[in-house]
């Protein structure tokens, strides 16, 4: 019924390579994006924007970055939060020390590029070592980032431990001042994050459909075979580290600027790397949309659980009980999901799509 190709005839190669070959898919996506852009900022409360949508977008960017490296290119990494840390601190410093015309998205791109270069440096060991051993070397990036910013207070502008990010950093080309719009409102922050994330996701999607993306996957599947057929393995790995760290850096900047509004080292501790790794794995390694599914599940689950606790039991149970039960349930859910569907939520969604196509007559 839904997702049918019937009646869609592909007559040229260009059409065959379309992003959404099925019309239903295309329209559904368009409606979804229009809804997110034009409806959500007006109907969502501050709570939904500030505590749900914006963090999901920020986490999603970082998870996507990790997925490009781990899921697409097969290079394990535990340095995600460290790279986010670089991105966030460099964005802050670029904004702080640049002339008036600098704006936040541009600063994020610049900071992301610097982070990408740092990613290449920490990715160098991947030329010689593989798998779990590489995990250890990327772990060094995580600790290096924290050590670096703790040791050089210059990057935190000599503040003690945290800096509150000023609202005027959000103003784009003086729009806020000219039209008297609050560019630091949650609506504006949400739209900015959504714009950046959409652009990055589209770029990732297209990258994966290009020759570069195919090189990534070839290296992932077997790097010796890839080098035999003439793929420059070293260059591909370094490029993967650059792109991935660029995404993580932008994700970190969004995390601090759009979400927490505070820059501090503690935000990027080891736990954050694990959290994002779980998001990528649960969402589905090697899937771009999956990065976001995983983010939504990992981020929302504990919150929904505590909500349910609040609404159903009206505080009859201690918050400690609810929180511990949430952790147990979450663990069981993940184990069950990964046993049933190692491809994660993205694979689950692909199966659902397939079923929907033939529904209601599956035979």
């Amino acid at each position: 019924m839904i997702y049918r190709e019937t009646g869609t005839f592909i007559t040229s190669y260009l059409e065959d390579r379309k992003l959404f070959p099925i019309p239903f898919d295309k329209w559904a996506m368009a409606v979804f994006m229009l809804f997110m852009i034009f409806v959500v900022p007006f109907i969502a409360s501050d709570y939904w924007l500030a505590a749900h949508l914006i963090p999901i977008l920020a986490y999603g960017t970082a998870a996507l970055g990790l997925n490009l490296l781990t899921g697409m290119t097969g290079q394990l990494s535990l340095g995600t939060a460290g790279f986010m840390c670089f991105g966030a601190f460099f964005t802050f410093n670029i904004m702080l020390r640049s002339p008036e015309w600098m704006n936040l998205p541009l600063a994020m791109v610049l900071a992301g590029s610097v982070t990408g270069v740092i990613g290449i440096i920490f990715g160098l060991p991947s030329i010689r070592i593989k798998g779990f051993y590489l995990l250890v070397s990327t772990l060094a990036a995580q600790y290096f980032a924290l050590w670096f910013f703790r040791s050089y207070p210059y990057f935190l502008n000599y503040a003690t431990a945290t800096v509150t990010l000023p609202d005027h950093h959000f103003d784009l080309f003086g729009i806020g001042e000219t039209f008297d719009v609050d560019m630091a409102s949650f609506e504006a922050k949400y739209l900015m994050s959504l714009g950046i994330v959409t652009a990055l996701a589209l770029f990732a999607k297209n990258l994966m459909r290009s020759a570069t993306g195919r090189n990534f996957m070839a290296v992932r599947d077997m790097d010796i075979a890839a080098s035999v057929i003439g793929i420059p393995v070293i260059r591909t790995k370094m490029l993967a580290f650059f792109v991935s760290c660029f995404y993580c850096g932008v994700g970190g900047a969004l995390f601090c600027y759009a979400y927490l509004q505070v820059l501090g080292i503690r935000t990027f501790e080891m736990n954050r790397s694990f959290e994002i790794l779980f998001m990528a794995i649960i969402g589905g390694l090697g899937s771009i949309a999956g990065s976001f599914y995983g983010t939504v599940l990992v981020y929302e689950f504990p919150i929904l659980f505590s909500w349910a606790g609040d609404y159903l039991f009206k505080g009859a149970f201690d918050t400690a009980v609810v929180d511990n039960v949430a952790k147990i349930t979450y663990g069981i859910l993940i184990i069950a999901l990964l046993i049933r569907e190692p491809g994660g939520l993205a694979a689950l969604w692909a199966t659902a799509k397939q079923k929907l196509r033939t529904w209601p007559f599956p035979h």
């Binding site: 963090p55 501090g264 505080g315």
Partner: protein, 448 residues
């Protein structure tokens, strides 16, 4: 059958939400961002237990605060900044009522919310800790740290070490190590410790213990190499007993290990066993059943089988007493606001209440809190108000603290310069326009 069950569940859920009590007139809402889970649960259960017990007592005996019943709900933060921010946004409104203030007892959460609190006009409270430049109420009108600030704390500790050495002049040539928790909170004292030692001609070194601090052998080996005369412990949670045990094992005299404001709980010393005998720590509020309000809570709540603590032996413990102290300060701020604006106050008016606290001995006696809460007098330029503390010593044989000193004043002059410099930095970099506290109109305006 399956469908039926599902429908029943849905119906039950709807029924439950339909019967939810709608906030009546005559109620004030105060959010409770607790942490009852995780490595910091000792602090969280004690502190929020104390607050809840005091609110419950007030609801029972006085019908709330100024005739308004106090209601609250809990949100579990795990002492995690990001969860705390989510809780803040979730709790800033409840059943149509705005939160009067937000007190998360976490320097990470409260500093993340300084700017947001100002936008929402909700005061962020950080009793005895926090971002120190927040003392400047003209720059941070919606941020309060009633009690003492980090700098007072460490200047008082240095003054006490001077007392132990028989005079501040004897500090010259001594070596002091600051052993601090690897967090926003821990790091805040590093710079000032060096400043203090510069002033008193002692040498200082800061050593970090990464969170959560349940393994400190390498740090204490480092301490043994540098042979300090005193170690100041700026710990939290599990880090404290581990520091005491490891220190004693390495041969460091426990009497020269001085704990800070978050290293002075029964839960910090009891797990360390006999190692903790003679350990000294700073406090703003003595432990034990030191005030009539505590006896009243015991008589009217715990003896009737109510009360928030699961373990009754923690009544009178440090974090619980701190919670009761916080409860007294919270409601006093509400009362101060009510005296000016009438019973149904909003959060901006309560902010003004926090800024005009005058808890002197007479008022504290009236509240039954004399002996528990120090004198606190806040104003537009000073959102801390107390600036003094005592020391206590742990007696292992009797499992109790004994008071070891009289009230000692903080070096407010030395800290004022660094607070002002930090405040100026914040004004320049965070786009803040400060109020003018000398202008009566601006000073008395609650809605800033």
């Amino acid at each position: 059958m399956k469908t039926k069950l599902w429908i029943t569940g849905l119906a039950m859920a709807t029924a439950m939400s339909a019967t939810a009590p709608v906030m009546a007139e005559g109620e004030v809402y105060i959010p409770m961002p607790v942490y009852r889970v995780g490595p910091y649960a000792t602090g969280g259960t004690g502190y929020f237990g104390g607050i809840i017990d005091y609110y419950t007592l007030m609801n029972m005996t006085e019908g709330g605060v100024g005739g308004m019943k106090i209601i609250w709900n809990e949100c579990e933060t795990n002492y995690n900044d990001q969860k705390g921010v989510e809780c803040y946004h979730r709790q800033k409104e409840f059943q149509g009522k705005q939160a009067l203030f937000f007190d998360p007892l976490s320097v990470g959460i409260s500093t993340s919310l300084v700017a947001q609190g100002r936008k929402d006009k909700i005061a962020i409270i950080a009793v005895n800790h926090g971002r120190t430049e927040g003392q400047r109420g003209d720059v941070f009108p919606y941020y309060f740290m009633p009690g003492i600030n980090t700098y007072d704390e460490h200047s008082i500790i240095t003054a006490y070490i001077g007392e132990l050495e028989g005079g501040m002049e004897n500090l010259a040539g001594k070596k002091i190590v600051l052993l601090f928790h690897g967090s926003t909170y821990g790091r805040e004292a590093v710079e000032f410790t060096h400043m203090l030692c510069e002033k008193h001609n002692c040498s200082s070194e800061a050593i970090e213990v990464p969170h959560p601090g349940n393994e400190q052998t390498s740090q204490w080996l480092k301490i043994r190499r540098s042979k300090p005369d005193y170690v100041v412990l700026r710990g939290w949670g599990v880090m404290n007993p581990v520091a005491m045990q490891t220190g004693v094992r390495m041969g460091f005299p426990i009497s020269n290990l001085i704990g800070n404001i978050w290293s002075n709980d029964d839960g910090d010393v009891k797990p360390a066993g006999s190692s903790a005998n003679g350990y000294q720590a700073i406090t703003t509020h003595p432990t034990g059943r030191v005030a009539t309000v505590i006896d009243e809570i015991v008589a009217k709540l715990y003896d009737q089988g109510q009360g928030d603590l699961e373990d009754k032996s923690r009544i009178g413990s440090n974090y619980w007493n701190l919670g009761v102290m916080a409860g007294v300060i919270h409601l006093e701020a509400v009362r101060v606001a009510q005296a000016r604006f009438g019973a149904d106050v909003n959060s901006a008016q309560v902010r003004w209440g926090f800024e005009n606290l005058n808890l002197d001995t007479a008022r504290l006696t009236e509240l039954g809190a004399n002996g528990l809460v120090p004198e606190i007098k806040t104003n537009c330029m000073d959102h801390v108000g107390g600036h003094q503390a005592k020391f206590m010593r742990w007696v292992y044989a009797e499992t109790k603290w004994e008071v070891a000193s009289d009230w000692i004043d903080g070096d407010v002059e030395l800290s004022q310069a660094i607070i002002d410099a930090k405040a100026e930095n914040a004004i320049a970099n965070e786009g803040i326009t400060p109020r003018d506290c000398n202008d009566p109109a601006q000073r008395d305006d609650f809605d800033v």
